[in-house]
């Protein structure tokens, strides 16, 4: 087991929540919001743990050799390591929430939707420098050799397996309507909202009560 960095609020309390963070560029845009939700849960008496996916953020592992199963395993291992009693998946994080723990999914999204959007962004930025790419061509490249999307170098095996992932069914969901306003992952630039952080933390705290 390789050690991975995690942000934790741990005061050995009874309720211990593992957060499985949003993915790729959405993860960057939601990082600050996620930490704001953690602070509020800490204040509400819940221990909270936010691990990194292997190969991302502070991780020392290479990203191109990762596969989706490695990320699912890492989240399961983090849950065990921290003695988590519950888990909250955020957006694409809902694809990797450990099934053994009582789970909540905030605004879950299919992997195919995330991939589609990242492919579109790559097509647009390539076009700006005069290079024509197509979605089909990029997927073929990704499946053969791996591909860089949104600044993340994904391996071929990752692309192949990731494309078909969907959030587990039967998990309690927290929809954006509950949190109010528009999802912060939509924002062109990282943003925060005290109101939304309050609302999500309150919804999670109630679900854990």
């Amino acid at each position: 087991m390789v050690e991975e960095y995690a942000l934790v609020f741990d005061r050995a309390r009874e309720k211990r929540l593992l957060i499985v963070p949003a993915l790729f560029d959405e993860g960057n845009r939601l990082r600050r919001f996620t930490v704001e939700v953690m602070r509020r849960l800490d204040g509400a008496g819940v221990d909270v743990f936010l691990p990194d996916y292997p190969g991302t953020n502070e991780s020392l592992q290479p990203l191109p050799t990762q596969e989706p199963d490695d990320w699912a395993d890492a989240m399961t291992a983090a849950g065990l390591e921290f003695g988590a009693t519950h888990v909250l998946g955020i957006r694409g994080g809902c694809l990797f929430t450990p099934s053994a723990l009582p789970s909540l999914h905030y605004a879950p999204v299919k992997a195919a939707s995330l991939l589609r959007q990242m492919l579109r962004a790559r097509i647009l930025s390539s076009r700006e420098i005069g290079r024509e790419e197509t979605r089909e061509g990029l997927m073929a490249l990704g499946l053969a050799l791996g591909i860089e999307l949104a600044g993340y170098q994904l391996g071929a095996e990752f692309v192949r397996q990731f494309d078909t992932l969907t959030p587990r069914e039967g998990v309690a969901q927290i929809a954006q309507d509950t949190v109010g306003g528009s999802g912060l992952w939509l924002r062109a630039e990282p943003s925060e909202s005290a109101e939304q952080a309050d609302a999500l933390a309150a919804a999670v705290a109630m679900a854990l009560a």
């Binding site: 939707s113 579109r120 962004a121 197509t134 939509l186 924002r187 062109a188």
Partner: protein
């Protein structure tokens, strides 16, 4: 059915650009978008187009996307209205 396209499009831009309430109401046909707003990079445009697809219930092919349609608010609105009429 496309009477609300203008309203919906302003709401989407508000959400994606993090605009203050009513700020998008001031957009006119000549308001510059892609290339004029630094925060609207390719990732943000990809997100914007996906939101437009979801909320206006249309499908945008990648080869339909060009600089002209994203240049101004008026051009984007005309594109979205035309797509909805065909849908």
């Amino acid at each position: 059915m496309s009477d609300d396209t203008d309203l919906l499009l302003r709401r989407i831009l508000t959400d994606v650009l993090g605009l203050k309430q009513n700020q998008a109401a001031e957009f006119d046909a000549d308001t510059g978008l892609f290339g004029h707003l630094p925060e609207l990079d390719s990732m943000a445009v990809a997100g914007l187009l996906t939101e437009i697809e979801d909320r206006l219930d249309i499908v945008i092919d990648d080869d339909e996307i060009d600089g002209d349609m994203l240049e101004t608010y008026g051009a984007l609105l005309a594109f979205a209205e035309a797509k909805r009429e065909k849908a």
